[in-house]
């Protein structure tokens, strides 16, 4: 019995680490840059495929790939915000109008990125084996790759938290999240901060993709699934609350793991049920303002 509980909880944490990372990324893009990025999952997919290519073609260790994949995805995200979302923001009469039009533009991005991925890598399922040996944790057995993925998810989350809490740039981001107009008056370069946040959100997605590729098979159309989970977690944690998203990721992971233990087919149903009930009962989420 104890082993079963341990098994379910650890499986939930392993899942939750990935969920937390992708949700923090989305939360950053929505909470600060106001883009509900429905193409978020496509950056996860790009990160996963980049890692797979680097590993299977050049033999580069997936964890080392982090320093190659992250900057590239950051630049893509940064430029996207600087060009596309910037001009949408300028032409939108209100913030609500921008939220609507940026959601649709992100939908267009989803189509473009996914099609490019299918053209380059094909539509088949891909995967590789890395650190795929079992580890015994007090009776519960898990793949080493999944434990490493959890470790990295937590480390990336912590590093990002320290960046937000301790650096000047982090302070600028927090200021922009609270009140962009006043932050601008205080000398924060708002345009740069928003683009930075979008880029950082994409990096979170990309590195989550990297970790996912270590543990699960990947394919070009995998993105949307993860986008939906990220949206659920972000709502669970409170739209715009970054710590809420991080904690929400682990909560959803454990819920998923518990439901899967009793009835594997119902975990997605449980996610959406929680999501729908939560929006009705407490739209601000568990940590919302």
């Amino acid at each position: 019995m104890m082993v079963t509980i341990l098994d379910v909880v650890i499986a939930g944490l392993l899942l939750g680490g990935i969920y937390a990372l992708i949700a923090v990324g989305l939360s950053l893009q929505y909470g600060v840059a106001r883009v509900l990025n429905i193409a978020h999952g496509e950056f996860i997919m790009l990160g996963a495929f980049a890692t797979w290519v680097l590993y299977s073609v050049s033999g580069i260790n997936p964890l080392v790939s982090l320093v190659i994949v992250s900057p590239v995805i950051f630049i893509i995200g940064f430029i996207l915000h600087r060009t596309l979302f910037r001009s949408l923001l300028n032409s939108s009469p209100s913030l609500a109008a921008f939220e609507g039009s940026s959601l649709l533009a992100a939908f267009g991005l989803l189509f473009i990125i996914q099609n490019i991925a299918i053209l380059v890598w094909g539509a088949d399922i891909k995967g590789y084996s890395y650190l795929a040996f079992p580890v015994n944790l007090g009776g519960a057995v898990f793949g080493a790759n999944r434990l490493v993925a959890l470790l990295f998810a937590v480390v990336i989350g912590l590093v990002f938290y320290l960046f937000l809490a301790r650096t000047r740039l982090g302070k600028a981001i927090r200021a922009a999240a609270q009140d962009p107009a006043s932050a601008g008056l205080m000398g924060v370069n708002i345009n740069r901060v928003l683009a930075l946040c979008f880029g950082l959100g994409a990096v979170m997605a990309g590195s989550a993709g990297l970790l996912i590729s270590m543990c699960y098979p990947i394919k070009a159309t995998m993105g949307i699934e993860y986008t939906l989970i990220a949206i659920i977690v972000v709502v669970l944690g409170g739209l715009g609350s970054i710590p809420g998203s991080f904690i929400g990721g682990f909560i959803l992971g454990i819920i998923g793991s518990i439901v899967t233990y009793f009835e594997p087919g119902l975990s997605i149903v449980a996610y959406y049920l929680i999501f729908v009930i939560l929006i009705l009962a407490r739209p601000t989420g568990i940590m919302g303002r």
Binding site: I112, N115, V276
Partner: protein, 317 residues
């Protein structure tokens, strides 16, 4: 009121054009190839979904992503009841179930504004899809169902009928007191409530009416597919497409969404058949370009061209 007199005079020419178009469409199976009847059916289906979406979301500004839920329910009504009941009854039941569901959803989501309403409706469609999928696999024992088929011409005429009714409904709502109430909700909900509008009632009823046509369209389209499964019937694209088509066409005029849906559906089918490997890229680029450079859609473009670039005062937004 003089406003109604004005609209009736103004709408004489467009009304005449609409009647001629419907007559042309109704007689088209007599002289166009069968293949084109099928394509027209697809175009009309998307127009129905888009116009229905605009009835509620256009004036109020609440972005509904529940179209896929209504469409899928229509499809499954057909799949479950298609053999037992005659076609018109099945379509009616499909519409009715959607009407009731929309009433419930509308009543439950009254407090939700902006992006919350959009993600709630989207989540609802996904929830129904996954519950149904689980039910089919674990209780029914199969993933999909076979639907009794109906010949293409019948499907076309049923779709045409739903199209005409949807269009008339949209027109009358837009030009009635009711439409004015909806627009005032979109502009400022509190002010509308203070002005004596029963905001809750107007919103919920309109949402439910708009759902009927989407459900009915789903019920009849299912007969063309022969085999349905939850992922197919509740495809999120049915939620996103009407939004894109409406914005692409422009929501300022009633013909905007029709134009948008027609051009979009035609383009989509041409791209899928001609360059399937690049279809999504081109589609995505068109989408982004339209959002960036056509804020008022094709309607805005037409008006600009007609007025010679002068700023157009638009009473119907």
């Amino acid at each position: 009121m003089d406003i109604t007199a004005l609209t009736s005079k103004k709408s004489l020419v467009p009304g005449l054009i609409a009647v001629i178009l419907v007559i042309l469409l109704a007689t088209s199976p007599l002289y166009v190839p069968a293949y084109w009847v099928i394509r027209l059916t697809a175009i009309l289906m998307y127009i129905i979904i888009t116009v229905s979406w605009v009835i509620f979301s256009g004036p109020t500004g609440y972005m509904s992503l529940a179209s896929a839920a209504f469409f899928g329910i229509g499809v499954y009504t057909s799949a479950v009841l298609g053999e037992a009941l005659p076609l018109p009854v099945v379509i009616g039941i499909g519409g009715l179930i959607c009407f009731c569901l929309a009433l419930l959803v509308g009543a439950a989501t009254l407090r939700l504004r902006g992006i919350y309403f959009a993600i709630f409706t989207f989540g609802l469609a996904e929830l129904i899809k996954h519950v149904l999928l689980w039910w089919e696999i674990h209780v029914t024992g199969t993933r999909g169902r076979f639907v009794i088929t109906v010949d293409n011409t019948t499907v076309f005429y049923v779709i045409l009928l739903i199209f005409v009714v949807a269009l008339l409904t949209a027109y009358f709502i837009r030009h009635s007191k009711y439409g004015a109430a909806l627009r005032s909700i979109g502009e400022n909900e509190e002010a509308a409530a203070h002005a004596g509008i029963n905001v809750t009632m107007v919103k919920v009823i309109t949402f439910a009416i708009s759902a009927v046509f989407i459900g009915a369209a789903g019920a009849i389209m299912a007969t063309r597919w022969t085999y349905v499964e939850p992922y197919y019937a509740f495809n999120p694209l049915y939620s996103f497409m009407p939004v894109l088509m409406a914005i692409f066409g422009g929501m300022g005029q009633l013909y905007g969404p029709i134009l948008g849906a027609t051009v979009f559906t035609y383009l989509e089918e041409e791209l899928i058949t001609r360059i399937p490997e690049l279809y999504m890229i081109i589609f995505g680029i068109i989408l982004i370009v339209a959002i960036l450079y056509l804020p008022n859609g094709l309607v805005g473009l037409i008006q600009k061209w007609r007025k010679g670039g002068s700023v157009e005062q638009n009473a119907d937004t």
